[in-house]
């Protein structure tokens, strides 16, 4: 598919490869720095870590309007198929909606979220921006428009297919899976994906890498 893949290698031969599936849209930007720090921490533990650009995101030349969730699921499966050796998938937030078509030895998911919640926030950002511009819109009117034409939501030009798929997307079962959330029982840190100004959290990155490594061992990957 010719998309960029950020790859961080360990010093020697990798124990396994971790495919990082970041959150979707703006949430990806807000968490990228911390996820890359987690990739470095994974490399220090002997894992190779890869994070591909999804078509239409980051450095991709594909117009975002031309892609949908099914396309992203297929693109990730293709990246995974090109990985030698055992593969573990590590997904965050909306990334958990597109990781189940990958062939992997195990899955780790952080703070998985349904697509309807993500879509609601994107539609609301548009309503709020419209209101500031003196235009009246609503979730209903935008949803109606989105059935037939692309919609610009928080800077993302999304096709009717993408909006329909996102609105209906649920996290799909995979096996073996470790599902974690933030807090005392899971990963110590704050929900950086919600943060209006991108932040970073080195401690959280370490905690993510440690839990992924633990999950890998528990899944019998390495």
């Amino acid at each position: 598919m010719g998309e960029h893949i950020l790859r961080i290698e360990p010093a020697g031969a990798p124990r396994a490869t971790v495919l990082i599936v970041p959150p979707l849209f703006e949430e990806a930007n807000r968490t990228r720095r911390t996820l890359v720090l987690a990739m470095r921490a994974l490399a220090a533990k002997g894992f190779a870590a890869v994070m591909p650009d999804l078509p239409g995101q980051n450095e991709s030349l594909v117009p975002l309007e031309d892609v949908d969730l099914a396309g992203w699921q297929a693109a990730l499966a293709e990246v995974a198929a090109g990985v030698d050796g055992p593969l573990l998938v590590a997904s965050v937030r909306g990334g958990c909606l597109i990781d189940h078509r990958v062939r992997a030895a195990g899955w780790w998911r952080l703070a998985a979220v349904g697509g309807s919640s993500l879509l609601r926030t994107l539609l609301r950002a548009r309503v709020s921006a419209d209101r500031e511009a003196g235009v009246t819109s609503s979730l209903e009117s935008l949803s109606e428009t989105a059935k037939t034409e692309p919609l610009l939501l928080a800077g993302n030009r999304l096709s009717p297919a993408m909006i329909a798929q996102l609105g209906a997307a649920e996290v799909q079962p995979v096996e073996p899976l470790r599902s974690v959330s933030l807090g005392a029982e899971g990963i110590a840190g704050t929900p950086l994906w919600l943060r209006a100004e991108p932040g970073e959290d080195a401690g959280m990155a370490e905690a993510i890498a440690a839990d992924i490594a633990d999950c890998s061992a528990a899944c019998g990957v390495s």
Partner: protein
């Protein structure tokens, strides 16, 4: 109880701290008169949208478009009053 006034207040402060990156001290120092939208530079239209969705998730409420006007986000006091009204509805 998650819908006592004190619990709603705590939930709302934590949510604003998470979304606006305020830190615990700044979030704890918010008063009823503290300005939000138009006052805090981090509080843009995307942040407004995120706050609404997180309020729904964390307070267990549903917020309709037509309930939202600019006034709700003017001050912390207005946002808290709106939240308390919603959880007791």
């Amino acid at each position: 109880m998650t819908d006592t006034p004190a619990a709603v207040d705590a939930t709302l402060r934590a949510l604003l701290a998470d979304i606006l990156g305020l830190g615990e001290a700044r979030a704890a120092a918010l008063t009823a008169d503290s300005g939000l939208f138009g006052e805090l530079p981090e509080f843009d239209s995307m942040a407004v949208a995120t706050v609404l969705t997180e309020m729904e998730d964390r307070l267990g409420i549903i917020i309709d478009d037509d309930e939202i006007d600019g006034e709700i986000f003017e001050t912390y006091g207005n946002l808290l009053a709106f939240s308390l009204r919603k959880v007791t509805d």
